[in-house]
Amino acid sequence: MTFDGLRQAPSVKRQASNVTWGSSTVNDYAVEVFNLIKKFGDFTAVNGVTFNIRRGEIFGFLGPNGAGKTTTIRMLLGLLRPTGGQATVLGYDIVHQAEEIRKHIGYMSQRFSLYQDLTVSENLDFYGRTYGVRGGRLQERKRFVIEMAGLQGRERELTRNLSGGWKQRLALGAAILHEPEMLFLDEPTAGVDPISRRAFWDLLYRLAEDGTTIFVTTHYMDEAEHCQDLAFIHNGRIIAQGSPEEIKLHKMQGQVLEIDCTQPDVAITVLRQMGLFDEVALYGALIHVVAEGIAEHKPSIAQALAEVGVQVRAMDIIAPSLEDVFIANVRNNAD
């Protein structure tokens, strides 16, 4: 990806784009990050990441815990000063114009950070007012958010009494009360049940459709599939980026063979001992084997498994999941 945005003066305030997905131009970036670095003493948490986020898209930032996701977000929000590199959010420089950035973005941190001892309504009042939303507009926005989060009739309930999914939707509501142009969500669905996660992503789609740019970090690969653009971060470096389709198409070396068999634990040991494959991993009850030209290995695999009494029920070459790609890239990166 190029970094055309650098040529634009950072102080130029641009209008919120209402463009729909895919139609935004290369110049219309909400976030431009170039070679961003953060060191904590000897430890390099973020090691020169570069990526752009188009306006109105859902951008997924993927990686395991400790990969540098939160550190990157905190730098973009002006909470941490970068050790090196440059970045703009909505055209504002992250070091010198953090205050401007904060007025135009919404943020949901990893921890639930609404006040548990305040009611739903009081929390929304508070966050609305901190952004200068008051009076009739505050009431109107509160109605919208409460309806969106499905919290009708619970306005006077203490936040601590809400269940996880509701809390999470309320936190999202508080983050969008002031109609930000852009949303930063740090692991928003961690620890939430699958149905609530689904409902939450539906909300994100609605927001994106209305033109909000969304930056979301996650370690759920199924959620990554919902994003228009992805960046995989590992040990502070971006190891792959692009749309889910692009990544699966271009970033995967070798093909994935999915094996459904009895005694998968035995099978995995045998396959690893064969020493022919880039990756042998268990996905639930299924085994994924990754190698260049995997089709040629099918007979030898069948034979090896038969020798130890493992019955193969199915063995097919499948399209790689994002998880396959991620694991493959992590390994390549480590080499």
């Binding site: 000063r81 007025k103 001892d117 007012r129 200068g132």
Partner: protein, 373 residues
């Protein structure tokens, strides 16, 4: 700017109202401390439980016992037959003093000789023992003068001598409450505000809400001021509460200007709020904050001369006490309430508090901002 600060203040008020336990601490702790200090921590000695061993059993010995009783310092709660019983009663704490009148006391008195009695004092608490010691001698001397008067047929007033007329200023009845309660007001201002501000800020850090606040347009200064405003009101309410109970229940007179008192209390708040903010920038959890607060409070309370006079401390502690802001507030508050003095007398203390307040506030606010980044 002001709107955002008030938004924070309003939210903080909700936290206070929701948290019944803290609410109770805020409003009842000072009252409890007041009654404890007013009654329990008194060094006024009256009606000390006393046992008598009267081996003499003469009208003269009974007259002496009656003189002790009439002094009001001593309550004669029992008569014992021997010294062992008396010793046991003192050991047990049943009595704090014992009067021993040996056989022959009445005879000696009648014969015009010097009669000896012994007085046992429980000296565990030197403050009490001092007072009792003096009182026991005073009663004995008065009795001696009575003997002389009778024998010579004169009145003591008609005899040559020096009579000292002590005039106790500021607290003529020498009530400990009058000394303790003004000090307590300063203490309440100091401890409560430090603790409440420190805990309120650390709580946000502990719960992770501070990070959410930092990505809103709220500035650190607005956050600090907004969070502290409700506690300023709580502190003033507590001051008025303690003052009212002190005046109307314990009868502490306010000799000076109440408005000057409140004004200087506000000045002192700068210091204690600053320390509270400083603590919040050091501590990660509420427990840590409490610990730090206690580490700072205890030396402050002793070095400031809340319980014991600074003049009685060794030189280096006296020097150290100049670094304790509470010291100046104690002088101010006792000066205004007990002595009725004004700014002309308290100028040094006021200047000291201005300097402490400004330095601590700036230092704490800077640290707080740094900590956020």
């Amino acid at each position: 700017m002001i709107a955002r600060t008030l938004t924070i203040a309003r939210k903080e008020l909700l936290h206070i109202v929701r948290d019944r336990r803290t609410l109770a601490v805020m409003f009842f702790l000072p009252v409890m401390q007041l009654f404890l200090m007013g009654y329990a921590a008194t060094t006024d000695i009256e009606h000390l439980r006393t046992a008598v061993l009267d081996a003499d059993r003469t009208p003269q010995s009974r007259e002496l016992i009656e003189a002790y009783r009439a002094s009001n310092y001593f309550d004669i709660v029992g008569y014992v037959e021997n010294e062992e019983t008396l010793a046991r009663m003192v050991d047990d704490g049943e009595v704090r003093a014992g009067l021993l009148i040996p056989t022959g006391y009445g005879e000696d008195v009648a014969a015009g000789r010097t009669a000896d009695v012994a007085f046992v004092i429980d000296g565990s608490d030197p403050n009490v023992a001092n007072t009792v010691y003096a009182a026991s001698q005073q009663v004995g001397q008065a009795q001696g003068i009575r003997f002389i008067e009778r024998r010579l047929g004169v009145k003591a007033e008609d005899m040559p001598g020096v009579e000292v007329h002590p005039r106790v200023w500021y607290n003529p009845a020498m009530k400990s409450a009058n000394f303790m309660i003004p000090g307590l007001i300063a203490m309440v201002l100091f401890t409560l505000t430090i603790m409440l501000t420190a805990l309120a800020i650390v709580r946000e850090r502990e719960q992770g809400t501070i990070e959410q606040l930092m990505v809103t347009p709220i500035r650190p200064i607005e956050l600090i001021v907004g969070k502290v405003i409700p506690y300023v009101f709580v502190a003033f309410f507590d001051v008025l509460e303690v003052l009212a109970i002190g005046v109307f229940w314990f009868g502490v007179p306010i000799h000076g200007s109440l408005s000057l008192l409140l004004l200087l209390a506000a000045l002192f708040l700068m210091t204690s709020l600053g320390i509270g903010i400083f603590v919040s920038s050091v501590a990660n959890t509420q427990q840590e904050a409490m610990l730090v607060v206690w580490l700072m409070l205890l030396p402050s309370i002793f070095l400031a001369g809340f319980f014991f006079p600074i003049e009685a401390m060794p030189g280096f502690l006296q020097a150290l006490s100049y670094l304790v802001p509470l010291r100046y507030m104690l002088v101010i508050i006792r000066g205004i309430i007990l002595k009725g003095v004004g700014l002309e007398v308290l100028a040094t203390q006021v200047v000291a508090l201005v300097i402490f307040g400004a330095v601590i506030m700036v230092f704490a606010a800077t640290r707080f901002r740094k900590r956020l980044e």
